[in-house]
Assembly symmetry: D3
Homo-oligomer: 133 residues x 6
């Protein structure tokens, strides 16, 4: 059992329900996953986090699938079990194929490796990489 | 100064030069960045790492720009200064616009935030996210 | 099952019991949590770690509740499941309210986000932040 | 030099200036630190991040000094150089004494140590720590 | 249940079986652990990862036990549950005693602590530590 | 410049000098590195940290070189610049050869890669790895 009970729609305050409603409408689903039901213990955080994620994950210069895969890449790097499970599901819903998942994990793994090689060998930043925009 | 001197092409062994040559040909550049010049102290690691990165970063189910942005997302999450600088440059070379960079960073930041909220609230994985392939 | 069995009080050596006794007296409890029972496989580490934690967590310039919340903030950042569970319990015992927990998590989440934005944007340290004590 | 030039007030768009103005008014300062000047390349992220931080760091169930110290604890755990420098300055401005800083670092260090001992020893969560709210 | 079913030997393609065979021969075991059975969903990654690990973990300037303990140290630092369990088993198979495990964890814990103290106190690198090879 | 000035031997209190003296005697050196001079702002932390490190890094079931290499492996994983520089120097002083350093980094890199593959593929712990001591 989680430390915090999940706040179900039926038990939610109007403020929390408003977020749940917007989340379900935006994502075209009737399912509220546990992350939100836990965060609902803090309605201000629920609303703020949802509004930010809604804005950040909307289609823009990057398409939704790319954004979901980046989210999954960060979650795998941080080794957040909940986040890996939920964002693997979200990325699949957004169209991620098994082949794309496999390539994504390969890049994530290699980046985590070379990050440590660069640090361990104390590699200096190349002058040409320092040039500002 | 880095702990390890950089091994320049002129000073490199044939084994190291072969990797440098393949890297420059593959990336269509005449520049070897410091990461490789440092790693060249271990020719086996240089060759193994380059062969892996060459294979992983090649176009496939994911395009090269997406792969570079994922690499950058991991590097920013790990806060590897060298890697952020070099992969920001690589992603730009692969076509990343300023707008794409900004959206990428927004996703990376939010994922790092929600990863901790999920962990801190001890959110249990939804049953539907546990369904295997 | 954990890799290491838990060393119960009844089975503990005098050296381990002395730590258990001091821990229970200091914390005014008759419960030894699993962390200590596992660490008891290395009596020197058990004693050293307990002595350090006892010294560090004692009231001082920071009060015990603040210290417990900082401990929880670090554990959530590192995504250590055991530590989040045990230090949430400890912080509550020290008086943390639900409102304080929620604000704590909000700060932890935001700090993890802005840490990556600062790194990803390669922000230079302001001159005024470099001024030594 | 950072990858992105800093956007100074004089060069900022009205949208960016509005955030800068609110930030300076809220913090009672005439100084905009580099984090914001870099993030200003993405006005939407600038506004969203500032609004979130303003809301999260406001006095509430936790006082501003405690919040700043938690922010610093997370930044030290993540080893974000910019963030450590800027939030050490912010915590001092909020009243952090040298003794409080020293105790804060001691807790951060010990939490990072015991997090790994708990994970490395594969300690199972005590039943009593699983009891939900 | 894991997201990806495990690919058993009986169900594996010739390409995957070749890796399984080499792994079992190299490690002198008839057991394939879950990591490989999951990674087998991407035969190219399976082969690449196995070839790299086979090369890296072979006896060389460092003996196999030392390498397994370093692998475990990294896994404990990253708090990867699967990796801690599997590499604790591997290190024991390579000869790690309980006393060695305990000392290993003590070093891992202390390094994680002092890493944050060094960062939090913003300690500058000593000139003598900057001298290159 | 670091936030905290370094406390030199000539300016140190008797309590701090006692730690410096013991450190120099134990390590057979007349050099105090910056980490300790910064930590000396908190004499209790200085003494506690030194006593712990002295105990942990002493020869035991693991030899000093192995311990220094594990310390370096953790520091590279955490990407702590100061710690990588100082512990590379310490490991060399303890006898680490260039070949050993290269193999160490290879293991560190690969462990960081496979940690994320295990997490990303949501690999379940093998039953045989769960068997307790």
């Amino acid at each position: 059992m989680a430390t915090f009970g999940m706040i179900e729609y039926a038990d939610a305050s109007p403020e929390v329900r408003a977020v749940y409603d917007d989340l379900m409408a935006t994502r075209q689903t009737d399912y509220i996953n546990n992350f939100w039901k836990a965060l609902a213990h803090d309605p201000a955080a629920l609303k703020r986090t949802w509004e930010s994620i809604k804005q950040i994950m909307a289609p823009g210069a990057l398409d939704p699938l790319t954004k979901e895969m980046v989210y999954l890449a960060v979650s795998a790097t941080n080794q957040c079990g909940y986040c890996i499970a939920s964002h693997t599901a979200a990325a699949r819903k957004a169209g991620m194929t098994e082949a794309q998942f496999a390539e994504l994990m390969a890049v994530v793994g290699m980046a985590n490796e070379s990050n440590r090689l660069a640090s361990g060998y104390q590699v200096e930043i190349d002058e040409r990489f320092k040039t500002g925009a």
